[in-house]
């Protein structure tokens, strides 16, 4: 892996000049600075190799709220900072957009801003930086995104297979045999994973894994409009949603249609957002502990910084039963799940 010496040698300049350029000293021209940054990236130099000084971590956030306690990202950010700051790291939260990704190559951005490593929340599969992360040498942890075969990156998330399996097994025990699934668009890794996890859970619980039982769309309202009639037509007695917000929209739609939840239709969400306690009825959901996810992300990052090439770190999922689910119409539960 490259050191400052290697950059200096390649450009035939002094180590001091390289160091000044990397640290943004005012007496280095913008052209030289750019050329040092590019050479550093080309040679695979990253800030994580610096031994001295406070280390800055960048927490990039996209497609996700994080400023209010009801936002999905809020507890994750707090969990991450709770673990990182006592360990001597400075954490900078940076909202990310497509323009920044277009303007700056990822590795150059990290070097230029003196970031040692990154934690990404909410990247979509279409993001330019997601592709650049495949070959980056800057340690990065991604919530709900997986990069294959790059030892500098790690995927952190909840155990979606376990969560979906808990939900399907619980519904089956409550007498449900025809269970549907609704999700947001499949242009996000996490939606693809949950989609597969749903069918995996059906097979594991010996229920038919008919593909017409699942529907997805980027917009929640269109998702319901397109797929709910078909699920009801197939006589689904329960629907699992890939997100609590989608489940909440579904509860409201059921009320409009005169369907009783859970008497006519049981509804399960995913994530356990604060709103689950306040929907009507309160929402049964699969919990991912977001504070612990944030902490785990720091542990994973800290492993990568110590050259332990973690690829995947998953947290146990938990089924939280509230009032949006009940026994299937006309059935008696086979076995109560705690």
């Amino acid at each position: 892996m490259a050191r400052i010496e290697d950059i200096a040698k390649k450009l035939n300049i002094s180590k001091g000049t390289v160091s000044k350029a990397l640290n943004g000293a005012p007496d280095v021209s913008e052209t030289l600075r750019k050329s040092v940054l590019e050479t550093a990236v080309e040679l695979g130099y990253s800030r994580s190799m610096r031994k001295r000084g406070a280390k800055k971590l960048c927490l990039f956030i996209e497609n996700m709220g994080y400023s209010a306690p009801s936002d999905f990202g809020y507890d994750i950010v707090i969990g991450f900072r709770k673990a990182a700051e006592p360990a001597g790291f400075e954490v900078c939260c940076v909202p990310l957009d497509a323009q920044t990704q277009k303007n700056y190559p990822y590795d150059e951005y990290m070097l230029q801003h003196n970031y040692t490593a990154a934690f990404f929340l909410g990247l979509s599969l279409a993001d330019v930086w997601l592709h650049q992360l495949q070959t980056s040498h800057t340690p990065a942890v991604l919530l709900d995104n997986y990069i294959r075969a790059n030892p500098f990156t790690c995927y952190v998330g909840v155990d979606n297979n376990e969560g979906m399996d808990l939900a399907v097994a619980y519904l089956k025990n409550m007498g449900h045999r025809k269970i549907g699934f609704l999700s947001g668009g499949l242009g996000s890794y996490i939606n693809q994973i949950r989609y597969r996890a749903f069918f995996h859970a059906l097979r594991k619980n010996d229920l038919p894994d008919d593909h017409t039982l699942a529907g997805s769309d980027y917009f929640f309202s269109e998702c319901l409009q397109k797929h709910l009639p078909s699920l009801l037509h197939q006589k689904a007695t329960a629907i699992i949603c890939a997100h609590d917000l989608l489940a909440h929209t579904l509860i409201i739609r059921c009320r409009e249609l005169g369907l009783r939840v859970p008497d006519d239709l049981s509804i399960v969400g995913f994530d356990d957002l604060p709103l689950c306690d306040y929907t009507s009825p309160p929402l049964t959901t699969i919990r991912q502990d977001r504070t612990q996810l944030g902490k785990s992300a720091f542990y994973a990052l800290s492993s990568l910084l110590n050259s332990v090439p973690i690829s995947t770190l998953l947290l146990h999922a938990q089924l939280v039963v509230r009032q949006s689910t009940g026994t299937a119409p006309g059935k008696v539960p086979v076995l109560q799940v705690r």
Copy 2:
């Protein structure tokens, strides 16, 4: 979660007596001690709740060598100790057998020996304790074994999907279209996982996932006897083995049959045991870094001890290309993989 007070209350004895019984004091009768241990287990009390004193971790080993550097378990044990001991833990290595598992319920064994938490190497799906671990409250990390929905347990291993995908993609680039797979018996979780990972990798690389391409048997020699003729009959030009030792046996069998490796058949192993450098030809394999696996196991255990319910921790796999693989007979490589 239960405390010493709760055990005392339930048995109507003093906290001091409970404490003495748990710590094996000589002035507590064997009958009372047994009853305290059983109540402790029933109430979910575990040593991990003790705040004071040195903490002892138990590293259970079964079905696996670990005393010589050439043994699979050797580096894992060293990696685990390298991470645990500087953090103030005492590590006891305990060879495990069926009789011990029959004689002592797992949680009682852990309490009785004052172990805070456990790391398991080599448990098979038939092991009695594997079932008891489903409901245990004693933090435990398992190499290559997964327990569903118990927040006190974590599965640690290599990213088998990634490893198998790297091997299949590499072989495809070398012109191979018919790739076989051989493994030990499917009574072990890791063999099941690698079996599935093989077919997952075939599909991901747009190769037909015909189930006759895979064969397994507990005994290596019988595995080859049963399945090699069929693979050769199907004109497989490459075979991936779930273990290096099986791949080594396959190389020897090929020599007996007059098949040249890699000219007639390419062979890939899994694990990167020290022997891979010394087989003839040296063995291309999928590497799992065993020292890092050991270290990761401690990080996972330490997370569980801090109530961060990690379910799964996987390390990146790496393809190590040696001389047992080459271009498919009559083919030119499409693209060289680094």
